[in-house]
Symmetry: C2
Subunit: 219 residues, 2 copies
């Protein structure tokens, strides 16, 4: 049962720390109290072995015995099938969780990722591309706001849909994109107050801090 | 068993015809030979009822008895659980299908959608936003090319992962974005040569053509 291994980078720059996508998997594993170990691959030199597990050369991936899974959504679906702390067994709640899991990725992150790329590169203002992609994100948040004003968690009980949606909105919040969406902001605060999130976040920060120490004091 | 209803718009402009996302669901239903009916909602006036099924006011959604599902990925996962013509039962093939289903949406479409928004709005050239988003798409296609050069379908047998990946790449191909990726282009040609795709595509075109006739000759 303890045969779960999460693979992430050995090191990343300061900026993405706390937001590397292995966090989604750590968070879900902590919620489900599933034992796992963490392995590292080089950030700088990505091997053929790395691409065999993650064809785009990204992280994370998870191995469960002889099954290797990439894409945070696919990993969370797999873990959801192992634990009803992550995916409710009631058919209607399960359906809610699955559709919101996809919506977090393909409706909300689809809009928040281009937006955050432009913000991060200092292009937030003026250009027609900014107007277009900021409008795209607002159109999504405007519809998320009444949804999240009306419920504590997306599917009834907390589920993998909340891990993904909260993590997606958390990055928007980092760049102050939720100022006009109080229900979205409250939802992020509620989700990130969970002990499993705090543990996952602290573990990711410690993982990359350890890499800095190893680089400063090579053996 | 014939209790599947796919809901799409009653009408859309010429440009998106043949690319409205109900096509993904039609295609999967045809592959699985599952009987279904098609219902319409107004493109222009989107009701509270519409938002109750699809919280972003988009299409499609599918009802299966008293279960209502939005997000093409969630719908295809649901249909995959009903038919092994869509999702293999072998655990390794099933895992391949599920991770590529998410990859189609969250790694490839995540990059192709901003790219196609810029192409569609005539912003394909010169600007730093174009350079950024074109580079983002190329980074994904560069990795898809060897994957698709090495296999006929993503999971072994044809699956829902191919419905999504082929539909995502088909829109890139429409804007001539696959010129340098022959394996991706061949894959799209191979997928869209399937009788189930041809039927789904013809049915979507006929659905919107019927709306034009109804508008021209109101009863």
């Amino acid at each position: 049962m303890a045969d779960l291994t999460l693979t992430t980078f050995d090191w990343v720059p300061e900026m993405p720390r706390g937001f590397v996508r292995d966090l989604r998997v750590r968070w879900a594993l902590e919620e489900a109290r599933l034992p796992y170990r963490v392995a590292s691959v080089p950030f700088r030199d990505r091997s053929a072995e790395h691409f065999a597990h993650q064809p785009f050369g990204q992280v994370p991936w998870l191995t469960d015995g002889d099954i290797s899974i990439f894409e945070s959504g696919a990993i969370l679906l797999h873990l959801g099938e192992r634990s009803d702390a992550l995916l409710p067994t009631d058919p209607h709640q399960r359906n809610e969780a699955l559709k919101w899991l996809f919506a977090a990725l393909n409706s909300v992150e689809m809009a928040s990722l281009p937006w955050s790329l432009l913000v991060f590169s200092g292009e937030s203002g003026g250009t027609s591309a900014w107007t277009r992609f900021d409008g795209f994100l607002q159109s999504r948040l405007r519809h998320m706001e009444p949804v999240l004003a009306g419920r504590k968690w997306l599917a009834g009980p907390f589920s993998v849909a909340d891990v993904l949606m909260a993590d997606v909105l958390r990055l928007v919040d980092r760049f102050d994109g939720l100022a006009e969406y109080p229900a979205c902001r409250d939802y992020v605060a509620r989700a990130t107050a969970r002990p499993a999130f705090a543990k996952a976040h602290a573990d990711q920060m410690a993982h990359f801090a350890a890499a800095d120490r190893a680089a400063a004091f090579p053996t």
